[in-house]
Subunit: 311 residues, 2 copies
């Protein structure tokens, strides 16, 4: 791993993604007590940063592998990302989703021509079906967050942010399965001087926080959080990077997530999903620690049901 | 009036405004059947294009006039715009609002240090109180839409849009009091080759449409529309420009406004107010007429109560 390697990752995904804008607001700066730069991956294709990792992973396949397609299990943004990236590159995508997943999410995958396989709702049922599809189709399995190429792809959002704002003291990301924060940590390691990476995580799904404390991957017994993208846990590919490179993880309450989300909607006039608001909520929660600093925040996505809001 | 004059207007307001981004979306283009460029005045200071006209009008005052303040009657975005522009330029702003105006709008004006005078709810009561304040304070009255300097200031949004996308065939704006569409028409006249200006107006407040038909300023008996910024009528300063320079006005139903608004929220991930959605709804309604054309749309603002949505 080095700088040149990550530059090649960026070149590989560039044709398939937007270089999303970095937005700021005087009022948000006043409220936060520091200078905040939002890297707006809610404006990314299919509405989330996951497009980056999916595009990198599929682009790296051999022609033989491409001809047989890719498979993943996800009911969230990675399902859409893998479907759209696969469509753009001319590869078949098989998506394992719980039968109980919302119809709107199934429709989004179908819009991007992903082929859905419906599983039971437990992780084991999901994984077993993905493994069966992998074998039956000869497809390549791509994990939504615990895959080196996915991790590297996700890091390109922070690379672009640092290219535009190289002076940043901190970059905040939400903490879910670990792909985004691990990729961000690698980008920060190779493309900044003294920038530190901080995670925001829902207190009601605090596996990441506990993993950093104990030094091994911890799991959630329950995941009662509105931040539906952050219910998953770290894996063996991303956790070593996170353990080594991430400064700390800040936990936030559900009402803090909703308030941060509403603040961004009202003041920035942009639509961000609850998972994205978690990183900003973490900054607000401990804003005395970051007074007068320059802070980047990865707004991870904007896929939210606008007819069913928490405020 | 000439090109040089409008360039000076732009130079005058530039220190007080954002040059807002122009956004587009492949999916919106597909749905619309043409190339659409959104000039995002929802990202403007205080959340709407009205900042431009207010800043121009106040900047043009003499020092003597500035020392005595400005006054307007508005319960909408112009109340906030005049307050903020006055604050930035160091001028006192007196805002006449109906006593019945929502508390959230009064609070917004106070945030920008505007001083509120509460009137009865009829136009006559509003105008009488504004006239009284003008006399008592020696302040300069600035009309929200029927004022030359306001009209010229509003035109700078289209100037910036044409600077970025000079090939546009059409620019759509919402039709309310006429300041934005008249200013846009002047900008288009002097800064484009063959671009045409088209207005979108709620069928439930169709005074503008009827005014173009009859050739004189028409009024609404009732204004039962969600597009609360578009309930006002043309005036003697802006109507002659509109009559001369605007191609036509397209009327849209309430459900078409809501659908267009929801589409932009979901696909563009930006927050636009109902009045802004009217211009896009007009394009969608007659999209066969604009097939494969290049169309700019002025997204006039993003001030909406996100806790009280029409979908």
């Amino acid at each position: 791993m080095n700088k040149e390697f990550l530059i090649q990752v960026h070149e590989r995904v560039k044709p398939h993604i937007h270089n999303t804008p970095v937005l700021s607001s005087e009022l948000i700066n006043e409220i936060s007590g520091c200078k905040v730069y939002f890297k707006c991956e809610n404006f990314q294709k299919m509405g989330a940063f996951k497009m980056r990792g999916a595009a990198n992973a599929i682009s790296k396949l051999t022609d033989e592998q491409k001809s047989k397609g890719v498979v993943t299990h996800s009911s969230g943004n990675f399902a859409q990302a893998l479907s759209l990236a696969a469509k753009k590159i001319g590869v078949k995508a098989y998506i394992v989703m719980p039968e109980s997943a919302p119809q709107v999410k199934k429709n989004a995958v179908r819009t991007y021509e992903g082929e859905i396989f419906e599983s039971g709702s437990t992780p084991k049922e999901r994984e077993d079906l993905a493994e069966k599809v992998r074998k039956d189709k000869g497809a390549t399995f791509i994990h939504p967050s615990n895959d080196d190429n996915v991790i590297h792809g996700q890091g390109t959002a922070a690379m672009e942010l640092l290219e535009e704002q190289p002076q940043l003291d901190y970059i905040f990301t939400p903490v879910g399965g670990g792909g985004l924060i691990a990729g961000t940590a690698l980008a920060v390691k190779y493309f900044s001087n003294n920038c530190k990476v901080i995670g925001g995580e829902p207190k009601n799904a605090d596996d990441g926080f506990r993993s950093l404390q104990s030094g091994k991957i911890e799991y959630n017994d329950s995941v009662n959080t509105i931040a539906d993208g952050l219910r998953t846990n770290f894996g063996d590919r991303n956790f070593p990077i996170i353990k080594e490179e991430v400064e700390r993880i800040i936990l936030v309450e559900e009402n803090e997530i909703v308030e941060a989300m509403k603040l961004v909607w009202e003041r920035m006039k942009i639509i961000i999903e609850p998972s994205s608001a978690v990183a900003f909520a973490a900054l607000l929660k401990e804003k005395e620690q970051f007074k007068n600093k320059e802070v980047g925040i990865i707004i991870s996505g904007g896929n939210v049901d606008v007819a069913n809001l928490p405020f």
